[in-house]
Point group: C2
Chain length 250, copies 2
């Protein structure tokens, strides 16, 4: 069940079993990728997309001096570059952050799905729009939060996303990122990220280590980053049985 985590707990878009089966059947290959490896370059003509099964991946834009700005971090269950199906060419690079396992889905299979299964198509569309909603939350983070708030917001967001993927218990999770990754995520320097992490440690809100993130006070951390998880469209309470879940429509 490679698609197990895809759209899990997402409000209003439960995958029916036949839809899930169709997605599974669309996978052409499972690959293991080494850490810190560029997978897609901006401008490449793409004919397949990547569903992330294990590990962490990123999407980023480099400036003319080589300074990097991450525009997305992906966790297991994310359809990393599904947007390449309609777009065909991307405006940014895609890379692994840690070692990763991915499922490859050819665009020809997705094309067939758009003809056969409009409901599944709309769920795929939905999943690309979650990424856009996360982009917007990041814009808010950049525009209106100070350094501590930005890091607090990112850690809170990642915590919820990993809870949904079953990879965080709400207080502790593994994240293979180093401090300079956080810098490229939050639009800060690694020196300042270090200062921020010390402050979060001293205020007993959160301890960040490359191997393990521990959130001591989830509610306070979220408040510090003005984090409201609504934009993730995650409903952790929802039972897994389709009958008890509100449906998108018809």
């Amino acid at each position: 069940m490679f698609t197990e985590r895809f759209l899990r707990h997402r409000r209003g878009v439960h995958l029916e079993s036949e839809e899930r089966a169709r997605l599974e059947a669309s996978i052409s290959e499972i690959k293991t990728l080494p850490p810190r490896t560029n997978i897609v370059m901006a401008g490449d003509e793409l004919s397949q997309s990547i569903l992330l099964l294990e590990g962490f991946m990123s999407r980023y834009i480099d400036d003319r001096n080589g300074l990097r700005q991450l525009v997305a971090v992906h966790v297991p269950g994310d359809f990393v570059d599904l947007h390449a199906f309609p777009l065909k060419v991307l405006d940014h690079d895609v890379a692994t952050m840690t070692a990763a396992t991915v499922a490859i889905v050819p665009h020809s299979e997705l094309e067939a799905i758009t003809h056969d299964l409009p409901a599944l198509t709309r769920k795929l569309w939905f999943s690309t729009l979650i990424d856009a909603a996360i982009h917007r939350a990041w814009l808010f983070r950049f525009g209106r939060l100070d350094a501590v708030g930005r890091v607090a917001h990112f850690i809170s967001e990642t915590n919820v996303r990993l809870m949904s993927a079953g990879l965080s218990d709400g207080r502790r999770f593994a994240l293979g990122l180093i401090q300079s990754d956080l810098a490229e995520i939050c639009g800060l320097t690694n020196v300042h990220i270090n200062r921020v992490l010390r402050q979060l440690r001293e205020e007993r809100l959160c301890v960040f280590r490359s191997s393990l993130v521990e959130i001591l006070e989830p509610a306070k951390l979220a408040a510090r980053g003005q984090f409201d998880p609504a934009y993730l469209y995650i409903d952790l309470q929802s039972a897994e049985s389709p009958s008890s879940r509100p449906r998108l429509n018809s």
Copy 2:
């Protein structure tokens, strides 16, 4: 022809005449909206989306102190909240910036299109992904550009988008925004926006007035903001005849 500007000049997604006709037929109403009016609130359950015909609209997130961060600015031809069709509930507010004319499209019509016309569906999907690509460019702007660069990038982006809509000649365009709008767009204070605009004026790159934006040196302005229009997927060279344009596929 209300949909005249929708997806105009977008690389690889030319609307066939029957597709355009179907979209036109989906419009339930044309509305005129006053300036500075909130149209959609975060959390509302939505059953229609808005195609912007004339004027400017914005999408934004307010912080807990009421400070506003714009996450998108929309120009004529944009399907402002098409993403509300798959999402149903938005994570942000939508408002007019200037007086605006919009076409209303009920989600029931879009639902029908996803069943009947997979190719058009994918073009609609594509258009929501352009918005996401613009989000990413904004993330880059926030993370890696200084104040002057951010404003230069925004003005360059807006210029290209308006050229595509036929509302800029590449050097001059009307934009009903005031300086504090720019502040909320660029994540700066209006005081500092004022300083930045003075600098752009003194460097003879660009003159910004609420009524009219004049770009004196488009290339230099773009360079100052590290602006590369690739992410807009606009091809102004492309002829309007479908035969001469590269097609998405089949």
